[in-house]
Amino acid sequence: MSLKDVLSPFTAWKYVFRDPVTIENPLRDRPGAARYRGFHKNDPELCIGCGTCETICQNGAIDMVPAPGRDPRQGDSALRPRIDYGRCCWCALCVDVCMTKSLSMSNEYIWVDRDPDAFRFTPGIDSKRWDSAELGYHRPEHHRLVPEHRPHMGELEPEERIGSFAEIVDGYTVEQARAEADRCVSCGLCIATCPAHMDIPNYIAAIRDGDYRHGLELLYRTNPFSEICGRVCTHKCETVCAAGHTGEPVAIRWLKRHIVDQVPYEQYRDVLAPPAPATGRTVAVVGAGPAGLTAAFDLARLGHAVTVYEALDKPGGMTRWGIPEYRLPYDIIDRDVDVIRSMGVDLRCGQRIGGDVTLGQLRDGHDAVVLALGLQMGRATRIPGSDHPDVRKAVDLLRQATAGEDFGTPQQAVVIGGGNVAMDIARTLARLQKQAFGTVRVTVTALEDFAHFLADPDEIKESFEEGVVILDARGPQAVVIEDGEVAGLKTWKVKSIFDEQGRFAPSYDETDEMIHPGSMVVEAIGQMTDTALLGEDLTEKLAWNRGRLQVDAKGRTSEPWLWAAGDMVRGPDVVSAVADGHRVAAGIHAALTGKEDQA
């Protein structure tokens, strides 16, 4: 102890002369830092109500509640997160995980209210003074708690695939599939959008768990065409996937394919429960496409005796005759159909109704009849020269290609249309040309510009890679015919497709004319159903809606014994056809068992 120890403490007196360091009015003068995790903000337009924020909150501080004035729509549950500040710990995990980046936090932290309930509020819906605060915590771009990219899937190189009709994509390996399944946040928005309402989050969870049998069982609960849908489904689910808002949507379709690829085919029947005991009722189905066979599958499993009549010599409908093999190998279709057959469905191919057997006979021999016809007839452009025999319809050519018939592959071809069918025929022709002549010379002319293209982006990309020329915003004017032979197609530049009322009425820039050379012109502008089998009387009796057979919510036509499903009533789409097949089967089952009110 020294003198210093006695004197030194007195130096504290210097503080008497210092300015105070306290902030006079901290409640007013002290905004939170730029990253401050203060009160929540949410952009209700950006938010999709996926509930991922609710899932991650370890305090149960978030409840998803209906937002006033909002209706659920595809990809938006219309629920919004309500936050309870009696529970929140300001961790911002909800902000970090938010699938749309709609949720953030302001730098505000003072909120005085006498009513404790006031501190439970729905950000973005209940307006707050910090709604416009610019500062506060937002998820930094690099900071991701859910991976944003799909694993890379192997596929044939363009040079390789153009030489044959071999399937292009490899499918996921187990490791890739698990990584992709891992990205799912199980929000379930996809279920509502899938026409068949497949239990997507759970079958994806089955992949994560490696429980493929359970996955397959889940697939079959809603879709007996999982092999086919796993390859060619239009995957509407992916367009609403929450992961797609700030990254790539989960590859739901490929994951479905992965499940069916993993379960050995011999085990399928063990996974599926056997059909119910026979009811003694019989149903005839016309058309062995996805809709007809789904209905047959369901009805057979419910114990009804089902006979399916198919005009062509192999089942599958438009999936076989309309989709090229490189997208959907034929043995895949066979596998799906075989499982359906194993449920006791009597499938009769090569039996066209309207010829030896009439619809009337089916009606007399069965308790119900289902029409499940595809869109097998191509629509015509009706432009000058389109009646030439070398102006062909895409559906006809695709059917011939499947049957292995030689339709005279042209050295150079022009396709009219911008949808997936146009791409299918263009790429089919490209392959045939490559085999026959070694070079690809196909031009696709589409009405739409690339920004509004109808075909899948993948199709467009792959077509380009394979050497197909795609010209957008070109309207067909005439088939050029020289010396009686098709020489090409004349097009004008499209200025707009629809008029002000939104009706289809293309207008053109006539000064921008092009001739696309080719010895064959293929029309791929849409299809319709051949309803000749109905006969005149029945056609007259039935109710129609804009050229389509009119059905009620259960799929029943205006004739009580006749039901209809699939492309002919819904338009072309495999999974919608499956959904329709289920619907009509449920309707028929209810009718046959006298429980119609409950259906």
């Binding site: 403490p9 370890q58 710990c89 961790c91």
Partner: protein, 392 residues
């Protein structure tokens, strides 16, 4: 100077098993409860003292007032959901929980936080250490009646909290170090503002040295008080400044280096006298070491690069079966997390080793005997313990 001398003749006789026999009815002994809300108690714990005159003849520590069941709670939370709760285990220096937990998860999940994140983690831990010591210094002085020190150090701590706020988005519970890395990089101009803060803290520390350490009263009441004998260090599991002030130089940063400590230049501070004064002085000097470390880190850390390792979707993150123990040197000694995983999406068991558990209970009970009531608070604070980490 007249010092208090206890009257040993009043002492109870030891029973054969070593325990003491108190005949409370004799009027010689009195039970006195200090805490849980006594101002001289650090946090909510309580001391059941048996006194004879002014002297403590026996003490029993009672904890549990702050038990929140974190370890159990974590068994029902996914790995990411545990991240926001761990910081709450130790309020004044929460970042060790974040670091140890994140590091344990990373080890078992087989991922590694990126380089830049490791520097930022080290930065945060040193910032936290400075703050923890500042709080301690205020408490140590206050427990001996010197309130002004707490006012100064609280100001310094507040400045550091400002830096925490701008870096992590929060002042107390930073929730910034998460499995995989850290949330974000340094904000623009952070280094400059940090330097200003460090200078201000250095100025405060100079005043603290003058007023608290060169102080006849403080010395009288702390020199020779509350000695931890070097041989107790191993027996009682004493770590950190409590051990270093006894001349046993233990520092996890040196002994089992982690994060970027091997790349930093520093020497653990130690002392020899092992009394209240020496422990306070070791901590005071440690503040300067940490200030220096913060400067080194800011000067040398990578300015860009990833901040998070690739983590799987945290919503269903499953971690293979395994167990690990991760430790770090916090301001009070060795802080550790023992994590057991069973392949599911939840921790099977988490055990948190806070140094306060050893220091505030068994050690304190031993040291307190023979101490004057008036010195109990000062002695207790000198062990620098935080009850929230005792009970978790």
């Amino acid at each position: 100077m007249a010092l208090y001398t206890p009257d040993r003749s009043q002492y109870p006789a030891a029973l054969p098993d070593g325990s003491l026999e108190f005949d409370l009815a004799s009027g010689k002994y009195l039970k006195l409860w200090q805490g849980p809300q006594h101002p001289g108690i650090t946090g909510n714990m309580s001391l059941e003292l048996t006194v004879c005159g002014d002297e403590i003849v026996h003490a029993r520590t009672h904890v549990g007032y702050l038990h929140r069941g974190f370890e159990k709670l974590m068994e029902r939370r996914t790995f990411i959901q545990c991240f926001p709760i761990v910081c709450r285990i130790c309020v004044p220096e929460p970042d060790f929980n974040e670091y140890c937990y994140a590091q344990a998860v990373e080890e078992l999940a087989g991922i590694e936080a990126p380089e830049r994140a490791r520097w930022i983690r080290t930065l945060i831990l040193e910032m936290g250490r400075i703050n923890s010591y500042m709080m301690y210094l205020g408490g140590q002085a206050g427990s001996l009646g010197q309130a002004v020190i707490g006012q100064w150090t609280t100001y310094g701590r507040d400045l550091m909290l400002d830096r925490f706020e701008e870096l992590t988005g929060a002042r107390i519970y930073h929730m910034f170090i998460l499995p995989g890395g850290v949330r974000d990089g340094l904000p623009d101009g952070f280094e400059t503002r940090m330097e200003e803060t460090l200078r201000e803290i250095e100025r405060i520390m100079a005043d603290v040295e003058d007023v608290m350490f060169h102080n006849a009263v403080f010395k009288t009441r702390t020199v020779g008080q509350g000695i931890i004998r070097p041989e107790w260090i191993e027996d009682y599991g004493v770590t950190g400044p409590n051990a270093r002030a006894a001349g046993v130089v233990k520092d996890v940063r040196k002994d089992q280096p982690y994060l970027v400590y091997p790349e930093l230049d520093f020497e653990p501070v130690s002392g020899t006298d092992s009394d209240v004064f020496t422990r306070a002085d070791v901590r005071r000097r440690d503040v300067h070491v940490s200030i220096d470390l913060v400067r080194q880190i800011l000067a040398r850390m990578p300015k860009d690069g990833p901040l998070m390792a690739k983590v799987p979707n945290v919503l269903h993150w499953k971690i293979p079966k395994g167990e690990t123990y991760v430790r770090g040197e916090c301001s009070r000694g060795e802080y550790g997390y023992y994590l057991v995983t069973d392949g599911s999406g939840y921790p099977r068991r988490v055990n948190v080793r806070g140094p306060s558990y050893t220091h505030a209970m068994a050690l304190l009970e031993k040291m307190i005997v023979g101490v004057n009531i008036a010195d109990v608070a000062g002695l207790m604070v000198s062990l620098h313990t935080y009850p929230p980490e005792i009970e978790r």
